[in-house]
Symmetry: C2
């Protein structure tokens, strides 16, 4: 369609720009409340000042997420979609024109909380990451297959709560791998055990291979 063609043109421009600067661009997609912002707060604390990071964050309303990220030491630019259910390349490229995130090693895009619509939009990212919290149920990969098929990583979040909920990690891994055999499947907690070590190691590995 014409809309996607225009989107892809802008996404291509973004990708070109960040391949010149060797900036790794990561697009985080999840349901509302799966822990995108909390993971980024923990990432800011773990990797600053060694790496220079920034985030463009999309929401329907409020600047809450950008405020949280800035307080955690990560420069952040808030996109307000005014009701839109996903980010597209136009919104991201307009944000980048305003935000001036020049010298960054890692650019995060925190998408609007939505496990369906953001899947089909290329934002110029190197890859998408799907977050799934242990509190959402272990049936989600097959129920929302598109994002799990396209994401480079499936990040299980809030694993510190595993003792309190029913969540069969093996089943979720199997479903994720069925949809996408190459997916990096990792288990994290931004607030407790096991921490975010698998996540930061994955980012470092992907940055190295972009260089």
């Amino acid at each position: 369609s014409k809309i996607l063609a225009e989107n892809d043109r802008l996404a291509h421009q973004i990708r070109e720009r960040f391949s010149r600067t060797k900036t790794l661009v990561v697009n985080l997609v999840s349901s509302p409340g799966s822990g995108k912002t909390t993971l980024l707060e923990a990432t800011a604390k773990a990797l600053t000042p060694r790496l220079r990071m920034a985030c463009v964050v999309g929401d329907v309303a409020t600047e809450r997420d950008a405020e949280r990220l800035k307080a955690a030491g990560m420069p952040a630019y808030q996109i307000l979609t005014g009701g839109g259910c996903h980010l597209d390349a136009r919104l991201v490229s307009e944000a980048l024109a305003e935000a001036h995130f020049e010298d960054v090693d890692l650019l995060f895009i925190e998408n609007v909380g939505n496990l369906i619509c953001p899947t089909s939009y290329d934002l110029g990212e190197d890859f998408k990451v799907a977050l799934l919290s242990v509190t959402e149920g272990d049936d989600k990969p097959f129920k929302y297959p598109a994002i799990f098929s396209r994401a480079a990583a499936a990040v299980i979040t809030k694993a510190d709560l595993l003792a309190h909920v029913h969540f069969d990690l093996g089943k979720v891994r199997e479903e994720a791998k069925t949809l996408n055999p190459d997916v990096e499947f990792m288990v994290t907690s931004a607030l407790g055990e096991p921490g975010i070590g698998e996540w930061t190691a994955f980012l470092e590995q992907r940055m190295a291979s972009k260089r």
Copy 2:
């Protein structure tokens, strides 16, 4: 727009049909994994056989939710949207033509897991209900204001987990009431304390006022 006008025509037909039979029609909207199906399973167990209930449930993929509901004793018809991020009146009216849910007191529509898009579609329901789990964060009403402004009830789910997460019930209630002063705000757990008493009382009250 033409699409919404056609949607509203079909929604009107659905509403007419169920006002003749005095069936209460409830449209449940939430993020993926907030607990819609689990609440309906508990509702089936609490209200059967006194009330005759049925459910039309929408998902992108799998029949898992309809299977769960049928196993809990609630007749259920699964709509597969094939990628669509919300139910519309056409999908619901086609499902009703197949499902033959004739003599029911309560018809539930479990919408696709998505806190944004389902808000704008009238499905012929008497009202929408927004579910928000305590594990998703207490910042959501203002971050996703449209559904909380339009829902007749804001149902907090998984309250048995309150001891393990940060969730300020007072703040969430205040935000929900700011967006919609008439909203019925209730706190539930389908698996533990405090149970679903406030929810079933609300349904009975709304059924009585439709009769």
